[in-house]
Point group: C2
Chain length 829, copies 2
């Protein structure tokens, strides 16, 4: 394997330039912090009078107070200090806000940096701009209260908690000069995904990747409760951080009367110490071969401050600062009494806005000077608008990797194994912007050819045999047994302008249902933001699918991820069910070129028959839905008697086997066989960009003939997608029925009534006139089914006539030379 072309450090990671921070800088830090806090409070509370140039009156205050203050002052404090350090070191840095409801804080800082006004030209750097900035926040027609896609510098909304560190590490991979400052809220720290994401320390390469500096912000309270990590002994907490692979630095402030200058001096010194330590690690790594680097103890900061820091300590006799009561709106009503109005006004004036903004409402130069220049501003770091950095992948010609298919069914291959060969070349050609993520399933899903050119990146301890097992300090494959980690890393990687794919069990991809929700929502919103550039799609490859759980059974069967994603916007979602190897190649060749989508590709890894040449596969994928004339018995100029439809690899085998049976036993029947590879084609063109027109749909599926549809997943989805079609009442769908365990593939198919015999029986039942005339054939099909089941129960394998069935030689394209349709080996997982 080769990692020679992985980029390495190019000049960042300086040590501190001054031994300590001077008083002027400390004053500037405090002024910035006050300004950011002031703007944050203003956003939550004010409709008008943004600079308090006149006494605050009720009509200046929003009628509904929405937003979250509690975490905001801590975020602002850290932002100010990060700016100081960036200036001092010219260190590219980005800021990930785990507690995403600190939205007003991040908006405030990006406004102070000027970025906000550059992106949103109506939010100017003056009093009127401030008024608009305040008014739009969490206001109808305005911006959300979270660190949303609308916030410059954000790649992480933090609405659903738990992914701050995963996103941070995803951003850091292959960005060797980047420092990702990742604030972890002590609320989100209780989530599972966050709890395991600390272990990312074992997967990041000190030389070829960037650095994540986690700041665990202990402000002590959630919505209504204290947080766990704020309520364990400090020794226990620092043990925990060491256990995660960190060297913890603890900083506490805000609980006493310490002067601001002293607080700032202490934190600036601590940050310098930590950044110097990181610089030293990076410099040491720069002098080491990427594959020889050893995992350091990465520093992290525990920052303990009061929740709602700097807001009123007590309101109406109840503690607010330092309590859960400051989580959202500390003063929950201001307009109701003069006393409350005074509390708000005093609070805001306490930040001394008159020192911070000039007569026009412009931030005074001395404070503005804390902002770094241009793209060194964290809100303007191009990685935070990843589409700016996105390069097209150099994709090899899939035809060079295609399977030779002399006739339909005339070859037998493992689809994902062949895809792995093509991906090997993708990796070779794109050594620094493409990664493969999987929860310990890359080899199990038969993509292991990639290890010819790369490795699994692993920065934990190594033993001598690990190299043979394709582990290395740097590599394109990221494997950890956490779907949350894989998804979060990949999201972070994509959002910062790179490409990737996630391969996993179909059933367990539900683990990230809520994450894909959030990512899809992010994509949908960014589609509408001109300044956000399109990013590469989120690509899934679900190979250990519902029909082949021979090893694992019922608990590993669930095809519902497709249903889940289809609920997200049609602009975002694409679902592909390639029936054979060449269609899988053609599908992946397409999805790796797309932007702003969630592409779900389901394709088995077991040996299966190939039906299409690569050219046919390309055409088929282009159409999305196609009539397989070679499989049917239609006559030109006549309507078919019945349409058999398949979507998914196993359903395709069963439909073809049924077509074969029909050809033998009902040769006069005009059967049409349709295969669906792009599921969204079934929808109306008005519902989905890939949707077929009614005319096209009716041409393929007819409006009045029985349609027997064998579908990979829960059958209802097909009804849903075709609901408005003229012929939908003729549609009979068979699919997965949530039925128990079995260990052979055809037995599983039978258990769910998706088998060839059932499909033939369906045809007899549904084509007018066949029922009574072919009662004998129907009975023989039922008998064949019973015989197959009996055989399986007796021998533990599928009956040979099924296991070895192959599409008969139908002339034209050559002689069928296929092997078994159902592999009887284990599934290696």
């Amino acid at each position: 394997m080769s990692t020679a072309s992985v980029p390495v450090t190019t000049g960042a990671w300086r040590r501190r330039t001054r031994p300590s921070v001077d008083d002027e800088t400390l004053a500037r830090l405090d002024a910035w912090w006050r300004a950011a806090n002031y703007l944050s409070v203003g956003q939550i509370y004010l409709l008008d009078n943004p600079l308090l140039r006149e006494p605050l009156r009720p009509e200046h205050v929003k009628p509904r107070l929405l937003g979250h203050w509690g975490t905001t002052p801590g975020l602002n404090f850290l932002y100010a200090h990060a700016n100081r350090a960036i200036q001092d070191r010219e260190q590219p840095m980005m800021y990930i806000t785990g507690p995403g409801h600190g939205g007003p804080g991040l908006v405030a800082n990006t406004y102070l940096e000027g970025t906000y006004s550059e992106v949103y030209s109506d939010i100017t750097q003056d009093a009127e701009g401030l008024r608009r900035l305040f008014r739009q926040f969490s206001f109808p027609g305005g911006i959300p209260s979270h660190v949303a896609p609308e916030t410059p510098g954000s790649i992480h909304e933090g609405g659903e908690l738990g992914y701050a560190l995963s996103h941070a590490y995803g951003a850091a991979f292959d960005n060797p000069d980047l420092l990702v400052l990742a604030v972890v809220g002590d609320g989100e720290a209780e989530t599972g995904p966050l709890a395991t994401s600390w272990h990312s320390t074992k997967f990041v390469n000190p030389r070829t990747d960037g650095v994540v500096l986690p700041v665990l912000h202990l402000n002590g309270y959630k919505i209504a409760n204290p947080t766990v990590l704020a309520r364990i002994e400090e020794d226990e907490l620092t043990d925990l951080m060491r256990g995660y692979g960190h060297r913890p630095y603890v900083f506490t402030a805000g609980f006493d009367d310490e002067e601001p200058a002293s607080v700032h001096a202490r934190f600036a010194a601590l940050l310098d110490e930590v950044l110097d330590e990181i610089a030293e690690i990076k410099q040491r790594a720069a002098q080491t071969e990427p594959e020889e680097v050893e995992r350091p103890q990465w520093p992290m900061i525990v920052m303990r401050t009061p929740k709602g820091w700097t807001c009123p300590k007590v309101i109406d006799g109840q503690q607010v600062e330092g309590s859960w009561r400051s989580h959202q709106v500390p003063l929950s009503s201001a307009r109701d009494t003069p006393e409350h109005m005074k509390v708000l006004e005093d609070w805001m004036r306490g930040y001394r806005p008159e020192e911070l903004f000039d007569a026009d409402g412009h931030l005074v130069d001395d404070v503005a000077a804390l902002a770094p220049a241009g793209q060194l501003r964290m809100s303007d770091n191009p990685s935070t608008n990843g589409g700016l950095l996105l390069r097209d992948l150099r994709l090899p010609d899939m035809r060079d990797f295609a399977v030779d298919v002399p006739s339909p069914g005339g070859a037998v291959t493992e689809a994902t194994r062949v895809l792995g060969q093509w991906l090997t070349e993708v990796i070779r050609r794109n050594p620094d912007n493409f990664r493969l993520f999987g929860p310990d399933e890359v080899a199990s899903n038969r993509l292991q050819a990639v290890y010819d050119v790369t490795a699994k990146q692993w920065n934990a301890e190594m033993v001598p045999t690990d190299r043979e097992e394709h582990l290395a300090r740097a590599g394109r494959v990221m494997e950890v047994l956490s779907e949350h980690q894989c998804q979060g890393w990949l999201e972070g990687y994509l959002l910062t302008g790179r490409h990737g794919l996630f391969t996993s069990y179909e059933a367990f991809i539900h683990i990230v249902d809520s994450m894909v929700n959030q990512h899809a929502k992010w994509l949908k919103v960014t589609d509408e933001l001109e300044w956000r550039r399109p990013i590469a799609s989120l690509n899934y490859l679900l190979s250990s699918h519902v029909w082949r759980q021979d090893h694992n059974g019922f608990s590993h069967q669930d095809p519902g991820f497709i249903d889940h994603v289809v609920n997200k916007g049609a602009d975002i979602v694409r679902v592909y069910l390639p029936p054979d190897t060449n269609t899988l190649l053609a599908t992946y060749d397409h999805v790796l070129r797309t932007r702003q989508y969630v592409n779900v590709v389901v394709a088995g890894k077991q040996p299966g028959p190939d039906f299409l040449t690569i050219e046919e596969a390309q055409d088929h994928c282009h159409r999305g839905v196609g009539i397989w004339e070679w499989a049917g018995t239609e006559e030109e100029g006549q309507d078919p008697d019945v349409v058999l439809v398949c979507a998914g690899d196993i359903p395709t085998i069963e439909v073809l086997a049924a077509a074969d049976l029909l050809r033998q036993h009902l040769p006069e029947l005009r059967v049409r066989v349709v295969n669906v590879v792009d599921l969204m084609r079934l929808q109306d063109e008005k519902e989905h960009p890939h949707g077929m027109s009614n005319r096209d749909f009716d041409t393929v599926f007819t409006t009045d003939r029985p349609v027997i549809f064998a579908y990979h997943g829960y059958p209802w989805l097909i009804h849903r997608l075709t609901y408005r079609r003229t012929g939908h009442a003729n549609l009979h769908v068979r699919g997965y029925k949530e039925e128990g365990t079995t260990t052979t593939p055809f037995d599983m198919v039978m258990l769910n009534d998706l088998d060839r015999y059932h499909l033939v029986m369906d045809v007899i039942d549904r084509v007018p006139g066949l029922g009574s005339r072919y009662a004998g054939l129907r009975q023989r099909m039922a008998d064949a089914r019973l015989a197959a089941r009996r055989y399986t129960r007796e021998h533990g394998t599928d009956i040979p006539e099924v296991a070895e069935w192959q599409w008969p030689d139908v002339g034209e394209t050559g002689t069928a030379s296929g092997g078994p349709t159902y592999d009887t080996g284990g599934d290696n997982a």
Copy 2:
């Protein structure tokens, strides 16, 4: 609050009875371990010749080898030692197998204990029983390869990894005498849910709850990779465990030539030390008031052994024991060559079966003597078949808590707040077998009345103000910011025979999609196992729902959990959308009485109008779907012109407001108003036990009139559920459309076109003959909509005619005295 009636320790938790384990016991431990290992290998490999009484021939070996060996010998080792300790101390114990694919091991131990044969009478304690035991494993028509519901003593399948500790703690709550031995695999330890579940140490009460003893089983490898926790320095690992609140004990064996007796002696001594330490903690706690106990450093064991321990070290020149190659079937083909056959035979004979089983194939008495008696066998602990212990809840009469509703719309209440009052009494009457779980949202979801009688259980540090905030060492409410933890704890609690409910955000309940899949599958399988007794249903209360995310916006909007659960079996799933307070009460009064279901209840927490008296609500819930005659303008004896249907609290308001508008503007129109509270009623009676007959459905919805359906969630679900109904082509569904952010409730409704004005326009568009005649009215509706939006954008609140709309006084039941339909306060979350 009172915890006086919480059960306390009654005599378990003895210290060791003997200073050390004698040689005879050590030999018995080893024999049991060999027997369990032998039976495990036998299950994976053999069809026949179970005792190797004749030379092994190919036809004795299964044609397909399925199952997982790697984790099994470690599980067997631990099981044997647990049995020894149980006997010694008479300590009730249960065994949770995180690595659930160690199924053959657990089946083996339960067979050795006799429980398996008691439950499955055809699996006898003789050679023929052994043959059947081996043959059925992972065989068509047999048992799954995991620790499935079919396995006696299991409450945890471990197919999807990550929930071993959450389940263990759920089992331990309110079981003060129970020790839960929970094996955590080092693979699953990488998952998020597992990583945070260690923090359960801060939520368990040493006196009133049982004890979880985690054993982190480091066997070093997953399917294809080393594990993270096996590849960090031991200091780092023990720091991590201390950080989680544990005192770690490290045990290593199997990497050298140490004699088995020595290995057993070391582990027995360590286990005694750990159990004595636990006994001491429990005894100290027993002498302390439940609310005064302090969190101890709970012991845990790190057990480092080779993966596949005791299998062949090398096969075909490749390392197997101690490598990922032993994860599944170490010898992946046996029948293929005589050499492989010999490897298998030698491996099995190495356990010396002739010493373990007598001539009849019965386990020899001396080995069998290691099994504890009766219910002290872990496989027979009644908590593992929780239905055996389940007591009906003592439910207070909901009528005592009902809202007085003098006329429809004649009261305004917060539905969940009233439910909270009823739950308070539920908790008072059921102090030891009912708990409330939530990710920091119990108060936010307005159930805080429960704190009148109980508290949030919190065993981390406390500060003086915590008591006011309802934290205590023992209490019925479990809050942690991890949906995974809440779900896992509740599952463990239910599976061991208790009751509970989980309240959460509707959007973020997707975090546990995959967990509810697994639980639903567990319920489905246990429905078919006579010996498994029914357990209480898994009840959700989703209160911060999609329509009221004023604070949080788009990222917090997703009603798709309903869609997700509906994919699970109809036998299992129930979905309720109570439209007002009394129907919520009646719904919960029902669901807390049910068994073996997943009940999803979605009900808002904001003030909303009440429509039904408690008697009407009970009748309505009983029917599930009802015509609200008071809201419509039908005439007896005539078909309605249009049917307006609502499901969900917000849609109900909009439909009623639309009905009100139609009454004013189109008084001659015969409008029927239907409310759906039990969503599954929409399905056909053949599809779901709650389904309506076609005749009933057609009577309510008509077969030929336009049906305008305002639905809480994604509209497609309604099409899916009603797909086969005669009138489905007349159905027009409005629901959530995955559309952006806004901060006022009616603006949100408008954004998704679910508003009253749209519904009236729908009626005009769809009732034949209205379109051209009422173009003016249609235009006025569109104008009203624009005016409402303009007002909101200007003022930040909803237009008063909407916000203050109330159902008009229509006589009969009294004078309407309602307040606002849309609360304009914050949502406190």
